[in-house]
Symmetry: C2
Subunit: 192 residues, 2 copies
């Protein structure tokens, strides 16, 4: 059985991770440990009781985030679904994490190396799902003869482009605003 202390410690750890998620989503990964401590309502030193370095905090946070978003996508993706419903599911998942995901894709190159592995992992899971859906369409000869990786990279490229250039397209959530347009036109692109 867990002691009060263990329970308390885990709760504090979660508090810090939750706060870090929010702060990074709002301010980007250049936000400071001070901001995170304030948001979590713990003292500055407490952060370093739970995470030896900031980089370690970021890595732990990203690992949690990776699992969560992957599982979320998995839940929303049904077996034998159509291309349309899968793309919609994908965007719906991203909408839930939009601010944080936006920071992630736009700052991934300045994050520690381990962060990139998490990022690759997230993309792999999307790739896997999309692959299944497209293969069925290809058999039915409705999708063009284009290498799978181009089909995949076009989709992520388009979505990421809208996300990183959010300010060009929308004041609030670019995905919410352009969801249908993006799906419709992307499908037009890859279908015959």
């Amino acid at each position: 059985m867990k002691t009060k202390r263990q329970i308390q410690k885990e709760a504090t750890r979660k508090l810090i991770l939750d706060a870090a998620y929010q702060v990074y989503a709002n301010e980007g990964f250049s936000a400071t440990t001070n901001q995170i401590a304030k948001a979590a309502n713990v003292s500055h030193g407490t952060i370093f009781v739970h995470f030896p370095t900031v980089d370690n905090l970021i890595i732990c946070l990203l690992e949690r985030f990776g699992s969560e978003i992957n599982e979320h996508l998995h839940l929303l993706s049904e077996k034998d679904e159509s291309l349309e419903t899968f793309l919609a599911a994908h965007i719906n998942v991203l909408i839930c994490y939009e601010d944080f995901y936006k920071r992630l894709i736009s700052e991934i190159n300045s994050l520690p190396q381990e962060a990139k592995y998490v990022f690759i992992n997230i993309q792999s899971v999307v790739s896997l799902h999309l692959n299944q859906v497209i293969e069925r369409d290809k058999e039915q000869k409705v999708v063009k003869e284009i290498p799978m990786h181009i089909i995949f990279n076009s989709w992520l490229g388009l979505i990421h482009y809208y996300l990183t250039n959010n300010y060009l397209f929308a004041a609030g959530s670019v995905l919410t605003d352009h969801k249908d347009e993006l799906i419709l036109n992307y499908i037009k692109l890859i279908r015959k």
Copy 2:
């Protein structure tokens, strides 16, 4: 006529901008003024004689970069060229500035606001050229009925995705390695 002093000052200014370009291309925009001073072979203080703040240095650098790349693209784009040759011209220009451009698109959101205007400007010029080329193709009914901005954003999205995720695709220059593949498949996507 310019005095020796004026000439010298302008030369030093250029020296600093050239060094900053190289350092930022190699290290990203989190590189320090110390690194730039060392690369330019001037003392640290000299940088602040020419630029009141780091942000100002970055803005001046980006304005120069914007003009240069826009002009370069303009020179390489002939009148009445085909879609293929324009896309090739675009990639060829980007290859010349690849490292710096990569940093720019991946860190644009953490740069000062003025930097974004330069970035928007660069994209507008590409958009303008692409627009002309595509319109001709559309008249000849070879390009699908898809909104122009989606056509444009798919292209930039694809290119930027390859650039920001360089490490997934190539050890050296992702554009050099995948140029033909990108052009060929992108055209397949947008043509009937």
